[in-house]
């Protein structure tokens, strides 16, 4: 009696060792893929999309690389997911988290081959992760009280984050930009207030932070190009034809003259609206929606600067910056809050004209203008800067700081090794494996930099045997160096997130002993 088939035709099932093998292979393949981008000497990847135009992205950001991959392996999907979450939560460490999870699985594979039950490995990993986290907690530096020192911490973190990206040549410059921008936020993590404008041309060094606000729009014809002491009304209203919103209303006329009359009434209505807007005593009007030529002309006549079609984010940001409110009705001019700024002028960046609002009321927002040779460079620069900004804004909230350059991993590995020695039972193998996986990160950093990793890591380990050692890998000189002197720091929050989510993901994949794949949904062939 043959066993009846219980699944649908194309569904497949993999059990036990095979399932575990499939997930290990998938996860390790992903790790090997992104491994080479880790560290200051990590390499970039070219991603070509399969969509229309075959757009090309050059990046070294782990999350970006993984996001664009089409993966079928379920375990690999878990890794991609943690990298995405890392990106959303703390913004940086997206490669590290995948590499650590992959290394944990690589070690687990060996243990499973040595006939240690996955559940034992998991409980060992858990103990190790807890211990590693405590080790980090003991060594954190918190300079919250000392503003001066904290700022230098931020600079170090920014420099460290940027050093692995395309911006590394100008990291000093960009670190300054990022720190200045984040310090302006005064503790809020709302990165929306930092606007990044990309303009091709010039070199990366020409990028600058602007204290005011730059709107990527042109000023209407015949309107003033420069306004001092501007009073700005930020609005979201229809300035084309003001539709009658009552349902079912329509115009029905029987003669041409009536059409003209109605048209006249419509114009009159628009004129009234414009008058009302102007009655607010403003000299600049920014609308989210289109402004037709007629009202634009009216504004020009009144000497009011009218800017149409600013996108929604732009409007929100502008409202935030100038302290005005976003208005949609204009009947009570006295109670609408109007934004102020000292100077509005049209400026030129490269070949484009932009509108520059300077001397704004709320100092929170600012604009970073990125310049660079090509779109790819700019895109990557934006991603790198975004990473730095994320990390910095998170660090402002959680001011604990660690050293970088493989230092945290070595500290953790040492503590975890201690724990392994103290733990009886099979778990100690798993704990040892955890420490090996941690050491793999400095090893990869060294490898990527073309250094002799075996030698360096051994030296590092020896150096860490002493209490209170600050040794890490100095990629520039290719030797073990003092990270505190070199000023390489990382945010505690990032490291903790890396540690915890990597362990969580490894645990999740280890627990699996069966993969059931449903039949792929049949797609209609459009050919």
């Amino acid at each position: 009696m043959a066993i009846e088939k219980i699944f649908k035709d194309d569904a497949s099932e993999e059990k036990g060792e095979r399932a575990r093998m499939a997930s290990f292979v998938g996860a390790i393949a992903i790790t090997d893929l992104v491994k080479t981008t880790l560290g200051p000497k990590g390499m970039d990847k070219i991603l070509q999309s399969t969509g229309r135009g075959h757009g090309v992205t050059v990046t070294n950001d782990g999350a970006t690389i993984l996001k664009s991959l089409h993966i079928d392996n379920p375990a690999a999907k878990v890794l991609i997911d943690i990298s995405k979450v890392q990106d959303d939560e703390v913004g940086d460490g997206t490669t590290s988290v995948v590499v650590l999870a992959g290394e944990l699985l690589r070690e687990a594979e060996k243990l499973v081959a040595a006939k240690i039950h996955p559940m034992t490995i998991i409980s060992g990993y858990r103990m190790a992760a807890e211990c590693a986290r405590n080790a980090l907690l003991q060594r954190v530096v918190d300079n919250k009280e000392n503003a001066e020192k904290f700022k230098s911490d931020l600079m170090k973190i920014a420099r460290t984050t940027l050093s692995s990206k395309i911006l590394s040549q100008d990291k000093e410059h960009f670190a300054q930009l990022a720190v200045d921008a984040v310090m302006r936020l005064k503790g809020s993590t709302n990165l929306e207030a930092i606007q990044i404008i990309k303009k091709p041309g010039g070199s990366l060094m020409d990028s600058f932070l602007d204290e005011g606000f730059i709107l990527d729009k042109k000023i209407g014809l015949g309107q003033p190009k420069r306004i001092e002491n501007a009073k700005i009304l930020v609005a979201n209203t229809a300035m084309d034809t003001d539709k009658v919103k009552i349902y079912g209303a329509r115009v029905r006329v029987d003669s041409m003259s009536k059409v003209a009359e109605i048209e006249g009434a419509e114009k009159e209505k628009m004129r009234e609206k414009v008058q009302k807007i102007i009655a607010h005593g403003i000299n600049c009007f920014v609308n989210r929606q289109l402004i037709y030529n007629f009202p634009e002309e009216l504004f020009a006549d009144a000497g009011v600067l009218a800017i149409e079609h600013a996108d929604f984010d732009g409007i929100e940001r502008l409202a935030l910056v100038t302290g005005g409110e976003i208005a949609s009705t204009f009947d009570n001019p006295e109670s609408v809050k109007i934004g102020h700024c000292k100077l509005i002028e049209e400026i030129m960046i490269g070949e484009d004209k932009l509108i520059h609002f300077s001397g704004v009321e709320m100092g929170q927002a600012c604009t970073i203008v990125l310049r660079g040779a090509s779109h790819h460079v700019l895109d990557e620069a934006e991603r790198s800067l975004h990473d730095a900004l994320c990390v910095l804004s998170q660090t402002v909230n959680d001011t604990r700081v660690l050293l970088g350059g493989g230092w945290p991993e070595m500290v953790m590995a040492k503590e975890v090794d201690e724990l392994a020695r103290k733990t009886p039972g099979k778990k100690s193998h798993a704990i040892e494996a955890f420490s090996r996986a941690l050491v793999a990160i400095p090893t990869i950093i060294a490898d990527n930099a073309g250094l002799d990793s075996a030698d360096l890591v051994a030296q590092l380990r020896a150096a860490h045997h002493k209490e209170g050692c600050n040794a890490g890998i100095d990629v520039i000189s290719g030797s073990v160096g003092d990270m505190a002197e070199l000023g390489i720091s990382e945010s505690f929050k990032v490291k903790q997130a890396v540690l915890l989510s990597a362990t969580e993901a490894a645990e999740m994949i280890l627990r699996v002993d069966e993969i059931i794949t449903c039949a792929p949904r049949q797609r209609e062939d459009r050919m």
């Binding site: 039950h117 109605i262 069966e514 449903c518």
Partner: protein
């Protein structure tokens, strides 16, 4: 026989186009069905218990689910076989009724089928087997009642409840912080429970998840969270002592349902219509303001103008709130859902101590918390976790824990876990078997053997010697006449489940045995499977 003859000897066809249908009959059909049922049970067997493994399920669209919840595995498994579908149903009904033990019930059914196969081979009629099982299950259920313990808890002493939820959670991936989650689940259930009526409405507990943070950050919110933000970016982000108007009508001009047309043919009409429209918006906002609302929650969208007017009059508003959430908000704040602006009255407003907007992570994720509500009985469990699959799995685990807590409030009897209840039942059924004359005796004995398979699977998954461990525990139970010995899955050192504080609900266990027996009976009674051939 698809062909029959009438009284004149002419053949006529009963089953049409028989060559295009596959047909299995008699003992063949039963065996095929049994083997299908067993195959399903075998998949779930490794997920049983605290050391059970997880499964990766890949959906037709390529999404990945990682779980060890029996009901979820079976539901997403894309099963084609009819009998396998029955097993899926079985697990689902356990899920609906009890919420926990969905894996156990399938493993149990699989073991019963396996035993039945042996009996069939010996030539015992399937109906007799089914009847024997029925009797045995009755004995087992009675015995469970006998060994169960009432246990006491009050709103002030939740420890026993927490312990039970921890037993449920310990088999899930979240067992790292099972204590924390168990406490959250129990507190949530107690806050919505009606202890006098012994009833719990789980609909009042909303389980929300957001990726990021860590599992330990999961929290219980005495209130409602809504995955929305204020309609206007400049509205206040925090409102204290909010009076909430809950509306199901849009802030837009009315759209009468009858067909109509408003013709504009003169300038005057155009003007009046315009004024009318302006007044309409003004009226809507004014009405909300008049009744004293300080927050408007609306199921529909706002017109830009209305939005600004709301902002202008200092009336924060939330738009596009889903129907279910709206209802929950209404229950929590004690407000009434108002379908028309005309019907707004001060009594219909809901009240909440604090409404605040909270943002997460580096992206622009915002949620609205409505806390300290007038009627604090609606609560939200807000899960954080490393990745999407983790959150989903945590949601399922929390659901299980909530169900367990609810069952305990409904009926506070418990039995001890770790397979001890099954072993004890097995002993009782075995002993009872000898008293039955007739063939059923064999079936009853087979039932006892099948009961052993659950602790056996537990031992197997925990890396113990299944047969050795089981026989040791069994002899210990008989020798000391103590039904609390079970399998020591976590390597604690004792197999007295009372000391380990591992217990399950009585109704859960009883339901498992009853449901499994019923399905097995149903499968055994089938002696003809007719299915259209595939192509």
């Amino acid at each position: 026989m698809a062909l029959a003859f009438d009284e004149y000897g002419r053949p006529f066809i009963i089953l049409k186009e028989q060559d295009q249908k596959t047909r299995l009959r008699g003992i063949e059909a039963q065996k095929a069905n049994i083997s299908a049922g067993k195959a399903v049970a075998r998949i779930l067997r490794t997920s049983l218990g605290p050391k059970g493994m997880d499964k990766i399920l890949q959906s037709p669209d390529g999404d990945v689910t990682i779980t060890n919840d029996g009901a979820t595995i079976l539901e997403q498994m894309d099963v084609d076989n009819q009998i396998a579908k029955l097993m899926v149903e079985l697990s689902r009904s356990q899920d609906y009724e009890i919420g926990d033990g969905t894996t156990g019930v399938v493993v149990m059914a699989g073991a019963l089928l396996e035993q039945a196969e042996r009996l069939l081979e010996r030539g015992i009629h399937p109906i007799r087997v089914a009847e024997g099982y029925e009797m045995a299950s009755r004995i087992a259920v009675e015995h469970l009642e006998h060994i169960s313990k009432k246990f006491d808890f009050e709103a002030t002493n939740i420890e026993p409840l927490v312990q039970t939820c921890m037993t449920t959670l310990s088999s899930k991936i979240v067992n790292r912080c099972k204590r924390h989650l168990a406490e959250i689940s129990v507190k949530a259930v107690l806050s919505v429970a009606d202890l006098d009526r012994k009833d719990v409405n789980l609909d009042m507990i909303k389980v929300e998840g957001k990726v990021g943070g860590k599992l330990e950050d999961t929290e219980l919110i005495y209130g409602i969270t809504v995955d929305k933000d204020m309609s206007h970016p400049q509205m206040p982000k925090q409102i204290e002592d909010a009076k909430i108007a809950i509306l199901t009508c849009p802030f837009e001009p009315p759209k009468p349902k009858t067909k109509h047309k408003v013709d504009i043919d003169t300038v005057e009409k155009f003007q009046t219509l315009r004024l009318q429209e302006q007044k309409y918006f003004d009226d809507m906002v004014q009405k909300c303001k008049d009744v004293g609302a300080t927050l408007v929650i609306c199921q529909w969208g706002f017109d830009d103008e209305a939005n600004h007017l709301l902002m202008h009059r200092n009336l924060p508003a939330v738009r596009w709130v889903g129907g279910v959430e709206l209802e929950l908000i209404a229950i929590a704040t004690g407000g009434r859902i108002v379908p028309r602006f005309q019907e707004l009255t001060p009594e219909k407003l809901g009240r909440a101590g604090l409404v605040r907007e909270k943002s997460f992570g580096t992206t622009k994720d915002k949620m609205l918390y409505i806390e300290h509500c007038a009627n604090s009985r609606a609560v939200t469990i807000f899960i954080r976790g490393g990745n999407k699959m983790m959150i989903e799995e945590t949601k399922r685990s929390i659901h299980d824990a909530l169900c367990v807590a609810r069952n305990l409030i409904r009926n506070n009897s418990i039995v001890y876990g770790g397979g001890s209840a099954e072993i004890s039942c097995s002993i009782a059924v075995e002993a009872a078997a000898d008293k039955y004359p007739g063939v059923e005796q064999y079936a009853i004995r087979a039932f006892a053997d099948a009961l052993d398979s659950v602790p056996m699977a537990l031992a197997e998954n925990s890396g113990l010697q299944p047969i050795e461990t089981l026989s040791a525990v069994k002899s210990q139970q008989i020798k000391e006449n103590n039904p609390h010995y079970g399998i020591d899955c976590n390597d604690v050192g004792t197999n007295d489940m009372r000391q380990q504080d591992v217990f399950e609900t009585l109704i859960g266990k009883q339901q498992q045995i009853l449901l499994a027996t019923q399905v097995v009976k149903m499968i055994l009674k089938i002696d003809d499977v007719i299915s259209p051939s595939d192509y």
